[in-house]
Amino acid sequence: MSDPVPGPPLWLLLELTYRCPLHCVFCYNPTDFGGIGRELETAEWLRVLAQARELGSVQLGLSGGEPLVRDDLETIVAAARGLGFYTNLITSGVGLTETRLCALKEAGLDHIQLSFQDSTRRLNDFLSSTRTFELKSRVAALIRKHRYPMVLNVVLHRLNIDHVEEILGMAERLGADYVELANTQYYGWAWRNRAQLLPSREQLRRAEEATARFRERVGTRMRVFFVVPDYFETRPKPCMSGLGRVFLGIAPDGVALPCQSARMLPGMSFPSVREASLRSIWYDSPAFNRFRGEGWMKEPCRSCPERGRDFGGCRCQAYLLTGDAANADPVCALSPHHHLVTEAVAGAGRSAAEPPAAAPLAFRDHRGGASRE
């Protein structure tokens, strides 16, 4: 499966800013984002778009942080659409007034994905450390009014996974077409809060049952994607479809990444779009070539018949759990480190009935969460 010449970066994700009015405890952004350099300016983002399109990028994610914090979002969308990108806005909804929604539609925005934290105001507002529940409901109504497909994303974890039935009911009332129940992936802030966020196997089972009952009732009227938390699997996810194969992410300061979380991998020097062309970054930079192909793999991946399917799993997870990004993702039952995952899951099982744990939750903020601990 190793291809000598990489294909184009079909998926371009621009993390326009790390600024965000929310303080979600499960955010995958870096915990030290407060110390990261100044954001790209409008003209720099437009140059990135043009260069990426020339390389063959076609799906564009506009994310962050909260992308609506940038007052040039409409300009960026218009330029992207003009170049032929399919434009996806990934937002908390905060800042999405009707005026801005009309302007974004006018600019050619194709799609909006709106996130909720929970079906209850109490938990939505607690998890995001804001009062945003009603606002999100209003934004959902606006999205429908302007004839966008209604796509909701709810990140699941131990504190809200027992509410899956209510969350799906809320989505139905809001008129959602698609709902993504995305179990937390443990990077960034979520990694820091893992002990409090990892659900028990029993919680996961009940949530899957509730989802199945809901699907049976609503049929094709509303599509529900349930993304299983990989800690409960015995084979790793084919993370990013393999690093450097289809995904290109640009961080707010212009650093190019083969995965949104890769920034914390040690010994890697990620190039900046301020200093190099996207073409040289994608094809020639050591950072993007480091985990291409199979040459970097260790056992058990190196000789594994499944290596072409999952690419050894997630490099960031391998690093976070084992200290070496070239190891097999410990989610894999064939990894000698798999016990690190099963022990974490077993630990979650023991404490599932208890109230949120002894260690305080770290809420995402620019000071690294220190202010609330």
Partner: protein
Amino acid sequence: MAIFDTAARPAIGGGFRLQWEPAQAAHVLLYPEGMVRLNQSAAAILTRCDGARTVADIIADLERTYSAAGLSSDVCDFVTFAIERTWLELLP
């Protein structure tokens, strides 16, 4: 079994966009956070689904363009497949 009449006028479904991608040397169908790369026959059909032509028009055009006969059932099968995936919708 076709789920429509050949007098129906298919159009690309809401939220989908059909375009030619030079980097992939293919037509693609784009949708929220996803993409389908189309083979030549799928692209030949979908590029003709403009909401103005009927399925019968499209079949006749394809048979003329490719100097072929008897394409009707293949085209109807694909249009059915595409409607089921909401790639296409039928205009009244």
